[in-house]
């Protein structure tokens, strides 16, 4: 079995700071492999341990930080890795990324499983897995909370708002995993030192036969400020008053008499 894991250099939104104008300071925000990406890598490595699968990781970007997340994936147990060199990958359209990945799959595949995180919390659109699936004409199982491989079938549990779905399909397949799928292993010092010596291959979009990338026409990004009234009452000073005010709100919203 051969597995491709896609990972992304994601910024840590809990560390995101802003200009006074509301513009996010994305350049200086710390970046790392996204949490659901780590779960995708973990899932791939588990299949390697259980079934002897050969695992490949790929990312799109150009800085040395991208090389670092490939090595982080190596330290978790991935066998081989690629960086597709693209400047400012965050502003690429999802369909453009999908084209690049599909070409990468055609060049380095075939793969039985293409696995990625269900959503990175930055500018990701949660659609990449689907776009890849449509371009390769293979099925997708998205938002997987638990993945098994049984009798030649991938079996995935997806818990959604209306209930629990179990999807079964044979390879080849695209799967996107949520952070519920597993607890990613933490690299040890030994695996970190070993990962330093492994090769990271780089490719350009031309190597993949892709002529051009399509960028998103981004006009502006600002902090999302919802204007709320922010009327506060201190219950520790006056519990009765605070509770009465609460009830007043309930009444004015029409939910209580």
């Amino acid at each position: 079995m051969k597995i491709l894991t896609l990972i992304k250099l994601t910024l840590d939104i809990s560390q995101l700071k802003y200009e006074s104008t509301g513009e996010p300071l994305t350049e200086i925000a710390p970046k790392k492999m996204g949490d659901s990406d780590k779960c995708a890598v973990e899932e791939a490595v588990r299949l390697k341990e259980k079934l002897g699968a050969y695992t490949v990781v790929a990312t799109i970007g150009s800085t040395s930080e991208n090389e670092r997340i490939i090595r982080d994936a190596y330290a978790m147990g991935i066998d081989e890795g690629y960086i597709v060199k693209v400047e400012d990958p965050e502003i690429l359209q999802a369909t453009s990324i999908g084209k690049i990945v599909s070409s990468l799959v055609e060049k380095t595949g075939p793969y039985d499983l293409i696995i990625l995180g269900a959503g990175s919390l930055d500018t990701h659109s949660y659609t990449l897995g689907s776009i890849i699936a449509s371009k390769l004409n293979i099925p997708i199982i998205a938002g997987v909370d638990s993945l098994q491989y049984v009798d030649g079938f991938f079996e995935a549990l997806c818990i959604m708002e209306d209930g629990a779905y179990t999807f079964r399909a044979k390879a080849p397949l695209v799967v996107t995993v949520t952070t519920e799928a597993n607890e990613p292993r933490i690299p040890t010092l030994k695996t970190i030192l070993r990962s330093k010596k492994m090769e990271v291959k780089t490719l350009t979009i031309h190597d993949l036969g892709v002529d051009d990338v399509v960028k998103v026409d981004l006009l502006d990004v600002k902090r999302y400020v919802v204007n709320r009234r922010k009327i506060l009452w201190d219950a520790s000073e006056d519990l009765e008053k605070a509770v009465d005010k609460f009830i007043e709100v309930l009444v004015s919203e029409g939910v209580a008499q």
């Binding site: 933490i186 690299p187 010092l189 030994k190 970190i192």
Partner: protein, 409 residues
């Protein structure tokens, strides 16, 4: 000069942080309050490779550096400011490192892999009731009979006494005992791998007791007597009567890790302080950080911690040059002052930070709703002299810098 950590050191630090956030941070108060580190946590730490970091891979170690060990200890202590877990880890990093240098091959293969996996404990047994700093004055006696040593004596204020009894394998200590003529002073001390419990069996002649500590309660502190305790000669560490020197080497490495532990705890205290002084509002809603009495003091304490941190990593860097890289430019004794400096400064800086933090908290700090006291009392163990009395550090520095003949009494 390069004041940056290498990429691997940064990645390793992050991996330790991730481990600590998952498995240590949520439980540190429980560990301190309950007075016990769960055995499964010790096993997990072993699996994660947090023990025996600078020991060769051949014996189950991580093949890393003392700097890497210091990084791990600092982060563990940041996530358990009572430092109990960090102390457990540093003992099982520092003392196996020295033991590896001088023990017999098959003894290393017997003992070390189990320590690496968190199945056995390996610590230090030097202190006796009549003196800790005065190592030359120890009374525990080891007499050779054929290919065995018969050991009689007692050791006190020893960490890990309970853990050895509870861990599945057991464990033991880097022990120092008198083996030669009394007149030879410190040249009649031999070091041993004192295996007290192994393969689940406790050896005859070992009688342990436990103390109740006021802080750093997760790791046990106890005492034990050895009554006609038999130990095979193969467990001797290095040459007879050279034990004092091996001990001093061991203390040099262990003290760097101790400094790293107190810095980790001090860093936690600093972070708590920042949060508190920003948000505690008094006198018309001013944050107390807006009072210069508070912010100035904060800056001083921050400076002390940073200074101690740099001293610690400088000592770790030098220890790596000497022991790991075997860079001939440096001699072992070059390590004495850098180590004494960081072991002197780090607990003192951290102690001052906690004292001030408690004052900023006010009455809140005096209740168990506030956990800062756990860090204060935990790191106090190093101010009262664990792993080397603070004033012994001053003697080491004075002797070296002012000159031995000028500081003699």
């Amino acid at each position: 000069m390069d004041f940056e950590f290498s990429e691997e050191e940064v990645r390793f630090r992050e991996s330790v942080q991730e481990f600590c956030k998952r498995y240590i941070e949520p439980r540190w108060v429980e560990i301190d309050e309950g007075g016990k580190i769960p055995l499964e946590l010790i096993k997990k730490m072993g699996e994660q490779g947090l023990f025996m970091i600078p020991v060769s891979e051949e014996y189950g170690g991580m093949g890393g550096t003392i700097t890497m060990a210091a990084i791990a200890i600092e982060e563990i202590a940041y996530h358990d400011p009572s430092v109990a877990v960090a102390v457990y880890a540093l003992l099982n990093n520092g003392w196996p490192f020295i033991m590896e240098k001088y023990s017999l091959e098959d003894v290393k293969r017997e003992i070390l892999p189990k320590v690496a996996r968190g199945e056995a404990f390996y610590g230090i047994a030097s202190t006796e009731s009549q003196g800790g700093s005065d190592v030359a004055g120890i009374k525990t006696l080891a007499i050779k009979k054929g290919d065995k040593w018969i050991i009689n004596g007692e050791k006190t204020y020893i960490s890990g006494v309970r853990e050895i009894q509870e861990l599945p394998q057991g464990g033991g200590y880097f022990l120092v005992a008198k083996t030669g003529k009394v007149e030879y002073g410190h040249r009649n001390i031999t070091a041993f791998n004192l295996i007290l419990k192994w393969d689940g069996k406790v050896r005859e002649g070992w009688k342990p007791t436990l103390f109740e500590e006021i802080g750093r309660r997760g790791i046990s502190t106890g005492a034990f007597t050895l009554e006609d305790f038999e130990l095979e000669d193969k467990y001797r560490i290095g040459e007879e009567n050279k034990g004092f020197y091996y001990l001093m080497e061991g203390f040099n490495v262990a003290r760097i890790l101790v400094a790293a532990a107190t810095i980790g705890s001090g860093r936690w205290a600093i972070d708590q302080a920042i949060e508190w002084i920003r948000n505690r509002r008094l006198f018309e809603g001013r944050p107390i950080s807006s009072f210069q009495g508070v912010s100035f003091r904060f800056s001083e304490l921050y400076g002390e911690l940073e200074a101690a941190k740099l001293l610690t990593y400088r000592a770790a860097w030098l220890a790596d040059k000497i022991y790991i890289e075997r860079d001939r430019k440096w001699r072992e004794q070059d390590l004495n002052v850098p180590v004494a400096l960081c072991k002197m400064k780090a607990p003192e800086a951290t102690g001052k930070i906690y004292e001030e933090l408690m004052k900023w908290y006010g009455a809140y700090a005096y209740t168990k709703d506030c956990n800062a006291f756990r860090g204060w009392i935990g790191t106090l163990s190093y101010l009262v002299g664990a792993e080397g009395a603070q004033n012994i550090m001053r003697i080491i520095i004075a002797r070296d810098i002012i000159g031995r003949e000028y500081v003699k009494g």
